[in-house]
C-alpha cells in the first residue's frame, strides 16, 4: 500500500532586489516631489496665515514674516520690533537693514531686477491692519514695488 507523500512546504523566498528597487524609486519620487528652495519662507509653526481662493503660485524673492510683534526680513534675518516702523526716526537696526537692502538691490542682475523688487509678506491672520500697513509702507519706501501677501489655499472654496 502506497501512501501519498505530501510535498514538503518550502519557505517563500522574499525577492529583496525588487523591494529595494521599489523603495529606491519611492525615495527618489519623494525627494523630487518636495519643493525645495523655490520659495523659501520660514513660517513659524504657531503662525496662522489667512486663507485665499487665489490660485497664483508664490514667487521667489525677498520675504518678511510678521509674527508676535516682530518683523523678520529674509535679507538679514534680523527681528525688528513693529513699533520701530512707526517711529519718526529710524532705529539703528532699521538703518543697518536699509543699507543691506540697498546692497541687495545693487547686487541683483539686470534680468532679475523686476523680481527683486517683489516682497512676499507672511503675517498672522489676527494681526491688525495698522501693523501690516505700517510695515508695508516702510518697505515700499525702501524700494520694494510689488507686495505679495502669502496665504493658505482655501481648499473648500469653489474655484473658477
Amino acid at each position: 500500500m502506497d501512501f501519498y507523500k505530501a510535498p514538503r512546504r518550502e519557505g517563500l523566498d522574499l525577492q529583496l532586489t525588487a523591494m529595494i528597487d521599489i523603495f529606491s524609486i519611492i525615495i527618489i519620487f519623494l525627494i523630487l516631489g518636495t519643493v525645495f528652495g523655490v520659495v523659501d519662507i520660514a513660517i513659524p509653526p504657531t503662525m496662522r496665515l489667512p486663507q485665499s481662493v487665489s490660485t497664483e503660485v508664490l514667487e521667489p524673492g525677498v520675504s518678511i514674516v510678521i509674527h508676535e510683534d516682530k518683523v523678520k526680513l529674509s535679507i538679514d534675518d534680523v527681528e525688528i520690533d513693529i513699533e520701530d516702523f512707526r517711529a519718526q526716526k529710524a532705529s539703528d537696526l532699521l538703518e543697518q537693514q536699509n543699507k543691506k537692502i540697498e546692497e541687495y538691490f545693487k547686487s541683483t542682475k539686470v534680468e532679475e531686477r523686476a523680481s527683486s523688487k517683489m516682497m512676499s509678506v507672511a503675517a498672522d491672520m489676527k494681526l491688525n491692519y495698522k501693523d501690516i500697513f505700517d510695515v508695508i509702507k516702510y518697505y515700499r519706501k525702501a524700494g520694494f514695488e510689488s507686495i505679495l501677501f502669502v496665504a493658505r489655499v482655501n481648499e473648500g472654496a469653489p474655484r473658477d
Binding site: 519623494l30 485665499s52 481662493v53 508695508i136 505679495l148
Partner: protein
C-alpha cells in the same frame, strides 16, 4: 622560494547584507514623509502703484472707487463702498461681529461665508454699474484684523484686477464720521 610561487587565493564574492539596507530605506521613507509639511500656499498681489494722466478735457472724472471696513463699535463692523465720478455714490452696511465668528472666544473662527454673503452683493452691484473699472482701493480700520483684508481682496480681485491699499487713518476717519451720524 615558496613565497615566490604562492598560490593566489581565489577572490570570494561577499554577499551583500540587504536586510539592514532595506531597514535604512524604510526609515528614510518614514522620515521624509513625517518631516514634510504639506501646506499649499498662494499669494495675493498688490502691484506697484501707477500714475495716470487724463489728457482729454471732455472725459468724465475717474470713479476712484474705495472699499472700507471699519470697526463702528466694539461689536459692529461697517463695510462701505464709495465712488466719485459724474454719478458719485456710496453704499454702507453694518453687521455684528458675533455674526462673523463662530464662537465668541479668543480663538474664534472666522466665518468667511457669512462675511461674503453680507458684502458680495454690494461689490456685484458696483461691478454691474461700472464693468470697465480696473482698479479699486481698499482700506481697513487700524484695529481690523488682517484676515479681512485677504477676504476683501479675494472678492475685489474678481471684479477689478488692481488693488491699492489705503491708510487706516483714512478708513478710521470715515468710520468716525459714520458713527457720529
Amino acid at each position: 622560494m615558496s613565497d615566490l610561487f604562492e598560490i593566489k587565493r581565489k577572490r570570494e564574492f561577499r554577499n551583500l547584507n540587504i536586510v539592514p539596507i532595506l531597514d535604512m530605506f524604510t526609515t528614510v521613507i518614514f522620515f521624509l514623509l513625517l518631516s514634510t509639511t504639506f501646506i499649499n500656499l498662494t499669494k495675493q498681489t498688490v502691484p506697484p502703484s501707477g500714475v495716470s494722466t487724463v489728457t482729454d478735457p471732455v472725459a468724465p472724472p475717474p470713479l476712484n472707487p474705495k472699499i472700507y471696513l471699519v470697526n463702528k463699535s466694539d461689536q459692529e463692523f461697517s463695510f462701505i463702498i464709495k465712488w466719485a465720478g459724474s454719478k458719485a455714490g456710496a453704499k454702507a452696511v453694518t453687521f455684528q461681529r458675533e455674526d462673523l465668528f463662530q464662537a465668541p472666544s479668543k480663538n474664534e473662527m472666522f466665518n468667511e461665508l457669512a462675511f461674503e454673503e453680507k458684502v458680495k452683493p454690494y461689490l456685484e452691484k458696483f461691478k454691474e454699474s461700472y464693468p470697465k473699472q480696473k482698479s479699486i482701493q481698499i482700506g481697513l480700520g487700524a484695529d481690523v484684523e488682517y484676515m479681512f483684508l485677504s477676504k476683501i481682496m479675494d472678492m475685489a480681485i474678481e471684479f477689478t484686477p488692481d488693488v491699492v491699499l489705503v491708510s487706516y487713518n483714512e478708513a478710521d476717519a470715515l468710520g468716525r464720521a459714520l458713527a457720529r451720524r
